[in-house]
């Protein structure tokens, strides 16, 4: 009885205090936390609340523009101008990937179902450089706030790293390990990324972008690829909800690749694209393959990957909208 008299009032005080703190946090501090750390939730809510016909899931290529671009519209906005009838909304942010897309889809309100989902199959996102990106912890923490728990619970989970948190130095170790020791799928002197980039650096016509391209695209996608498994879950989810989904393989600077990094890298990229097409052909998802659509002049010169100048984004939008029109007709039969 003594123990009960000792503990019960203390536990009650803590409970009452927890409720007060929770209410205080929810009303005064949580909105700011969402702004700074949980903005994916706001982005998702805004997108879903507009109830668009098509949701375009992308990373930075959608909206990144070249500083001299006169037309700074995103790919999604340009697609909208071509589609006219169907309303399209984009969900995009830097370094975002299939894992985040899946979480976003799962948070979609039950009273809303888009006519179609278009999602980037960003080749680079299948590589370790992207999977172990320095931005990943921030994105994972961001997801902690995107649920229906009380704000204070989300904050505690974020403070105690209750998400797939990998310290920065461990991510760096994983990237370095792959670069230095993971065998590439060719039989020549460049057995690893490190050796490959070194061989590029030793050339008299060395362009640092060439080495960057190798680092970002020098991998082979297989069935165990972490990002591919996430995409598979997305297909499964969309099939269960009867939402048609189209994957878009974005144009890559293949011309620049063969020029700056060698023909081998271009071939590897095409191999990966073929693999993805074959993989998703067995599913309900359809694939638009635009990987070789643009020549080097459409890309940012100082960036190794899928970032387009205004006319590049225009070309992507044109191609996508043209194919969407066809595919939309098909998807209506789903």
């Amino acid at each position: 009885m003594k123990k009960v008299n000792y503990f019960i009032p203390r536990i009650l005080v803590l409970l009452v205090f927890a409720v007060i703190i929770s209410i205080f946090y929810e009303y005064f501090l949580y909105p700011k936390t969402i702004q700074t750390e949980g903005w994916l939730k706001t982005m998702g809510k805004n997108t879903f609340s507009k109830k668009p016909d098509i949701i375009y899931f992308s990373a930075s290529p959608n909206a990144a523009y070249f500083e001299r671009d006169l037309d700074k519209r995103s790919i999604a906005q340009k697609i909208q101008s071509y589609l006219k009838v169907d309303k399209i909304e984009a969900m995009d942010t830097g370094a975002i990937h299939a894992g985040i897309f899946l979480h976003a889809l799962q948070q979609m309100p039950s009273d809303y179902k888009p006519k179609l989902i278009v999602m980037d199959l960003n080749l680079r996102s299948f590589g370790n450089m992207w999977i172990q990106s320095g931005l990943e912890n921030g994105l994972q923490r961001n997801l902690v706030y995107w649920n229906n728990y009380p704000g204070i619970i989300n904050r505690i989970r974020a403070s105690l790293k209750n998400y797939s948190y990998i310290p920065y130095h461990e991510r760096s170790e994983l990237i370095q390990y792959d670069e230095k020791f993971k065998k590439l799928p060719f039989k020549d002197s460049c057995q690893t990324i490190k050796k490959w980039t070194d061989s590029i650096r030793n050339k008299p016509s060395f362009d640092p972008i060439g080495a960057e391209m190798v680092i970002h695209f020098g991998f082979k996608i297989d069935k165990k690829n972490q990002m591919l498994l996430e995409y598979d879950k997305i297909v499964k989810y969309c099939t269960s909800k009867q939402i048609p989904i189209i994957f878009l393989i974005l144009p890559e600077n293949l011309e620049g690749m063969s020029l700056k990094a060698g023909e081998k890298l271009k071939k590897l990229c095409i191999q990966n694209v073929t693999f993805l097409q074959k993989h998703f052909s067995k599913t309900n998802a359809q694939v638009i393959n635009d990987v070789d659509m643009l020549n080097a002049s459409y890309f940012f010169e100082d960036f190794p990957t899928e970032h387009y100048k205004s006319d590049g984004r225009e070309q992507v939008a044109k191609s996508v909208s043209k194919q969407l029109k066809n595919k939309l007709i098909k998807t209506k039969n789903l």
Binding site: N162, Y168, E173, D198
Partner: protein, 468 residues
């Protein structure tokens, strides 16, 4: 497993329940398994090294104790020291001594084995290796000096090395202090848990709300000092002094509180170091377990204060130099150690404080400002990653950022920190709270809990001392 993760909040209660559920006779075995599990949480491969170190010191110390021949004893001690310090040097200093050199870099580019070595020693530094190596070395040396008798049971010795609350960042305990406490018969009382929780609460408050929020604030300033005004840069240096103190003291308090649950009183590591009027005093209050380690195993064997001036000078210098080197294989840590060594010598040679002398207020103020200036400048050397950045802290460009938005998540805990230090002073939180009324205690608990809940940093900031 970090103390500030949900994993630890699940791990600790499970260990406590398991520990007290089993027969007292076998509790230590459970604690040993839990400690290895805790350590393996970082990387399984780290376990091999700690087991190797444990086995070597166990056998070496037992053989030293049994050996009657002094030369044999010395050889055995040398074997233990060489194997311990070899591991430390290999993992901590390989890159500094060999890996970073141009010939080795060239070799690594052409030879796969050399590349593998470079990779292992760059990324494979086992967490807490400096801490457990020093703890293990102190044991073997104490056996050699016949201050203690060696442990006959390898597993019991292993628990002394791996006791999880203090395994990865100290306090660096001595055998005669820690070992008997772990194995004594212990009947837990609510009092132990209450004081343990009080101490841990303060630890979490210092680490999660003060250290990490300051850390987020100062990181970009140290990264690119050229963009900030001199005032902001030096504010960042002072703030870093608070960050490293609250980070390390926070960790230590969590460790002390956690050990308390198992009936173990770990030594205090800090006693209001920023209230020191001299560097000598600062070093008697900062990272006490390491300072006393260096005193007992480096400074005194080198002659200490009882030798002639020249030897004393060398002993001080060597102690501070090694103390800098202990923190890591970077030139800035060595400069940091040398800076403290030089100022310590100047202070002791020209401005010593005689024992028992009460300082007048003006002298206290002057000495405090001087001491804190040296300590702060030391933190600048400690924090920067490239020596060229030091001079950037003394210059400012015309368009540098001179206005920074001090957020409430920074300045409120900062004020609380100052209040905390002034109230608690040299005491441990549980000592301070021991004679306080229920209302005072609970007011303090609720303030600390609310600040942790509302302002704990959510960024990617591990404990600073884990890297050592």
């Amino acid at each position: 497993m970090l103390f500030t993760t949900l994993d630890f909040f699940i791990f600790l209660p499970i260990v406590l329940i398991g520990y007290y559920a089993i027969n007292q006779k076998y509790r230590w075995i459970f604690l040993l398994i839990a400690s290895y599990f805790f350590y393996a949480g970082w990387k399984m491969s780290y376990l091999g090294l700690i087991v190797f170190s444990t086995v070597i010191d166990y056998f070496a110390s037992n053989l030293i104790y049994k050996a009657k021949n002094q030369i044999r004893r010395r050889w055995l001690l040398a074997l233990s020291l060489v194997s311990n310090f070899s591991l430390l040097i290999l993992f901590k200093y390989f890159h500094f001594l060999i890996g970073g050199s141009s010939w080795f870099k060239h070799l690594a580019n052409t030879n796969d084995d050399a590349m593998w070595l470079q990779f292992v020693f760059e990324y494979g530094i086992p967490v807490g290796i400096s801490f457990y190596t020093f703890q293990s070395v102190s044991y073997t040396v104490d056996v050699y000096r016949r201050r203690i008798e060696p442990e006959n049971n390898l597993a019991k010795f292993a628990l002394y090395i791996t006791f999880f609350p203090q395994l990865v960042a100290g306090p660096i305990e001595r055998y005669e202090h820690l070992h008997p406490q772990i194995f004594k018969k212990f009947k837990p009382k609510w009092e132990h848990f209450r004081t343990g929780l009080q101490i841990m609460l303060c630890g979490f408050f210092l680490k999660m709300t003060i250290a990490d929020n300051i850390g987020t604030f100062v990181a970009p300033i140290f990264e690119q000092p050229e963009y900030y005004s001199i005032f902001i840069k030096w504010s960042a240096v002072v703030l870093f002094g608070i960050q490293i103190y609250t980070d390390f003291n926070g960790y230590t308090l969590i460790a002390i509180g956690c050990a308390q649950f198992f009936g173990v009183q770990l030594m205090n590591n800090f006693q209001l170091p920023y209230g020191s009027y001299s560097l000598k005093e600062f070093w008697s209050r900062w990272h006490i377990s390491l300072s006393t380690w260096f005193r007992d195993y480096v400074y005194i064997p080198l002659g200490g204060s009882k030798s002639n001036k020249f030897r004393w000078f060398l002993a001080i210098f060597a102690t501070f130099f090694l103390s800098g080197l202990w923190h890591g294989a970077m030139v800035n840590f060595i400069y940091w150690g040398i800076l403290h060594g030089v100022y310590y010598l100047i202070e002791q040679a020209f401005f010593p404080v005689k024992k028992g002398r009460i300082l007048p207020l003006w002298e206290k103020v002057v000495r405090w400002i001087f001491t804190m200036s040296v300590v702060s400048f030391g933190w600048l050397l400690f924090r920067i990653d490239q020596m060229r950045k030091v001079k950037l802290f003394f210059t400012s460009t015309l368009n540098s950022i001179s206005d920074i938005n001090f957020e409430y998540s920074l300045y409120i805990p900062l004020v609380l920190f100052i209040v905390y230090e002034l109230i608690i002073r040299k005491n441990r939180p549980d000592e301070f709270l021991a004679n306080k009324s229920l209302l005072t205690r609970w007011t303090m608990y609720l303030i600390l809990i609310s600040y942790i809940l509302l302002f704990a940093n959510t960024g990617d900031l591990p404990f600073i001392y884990f890297q050592f």
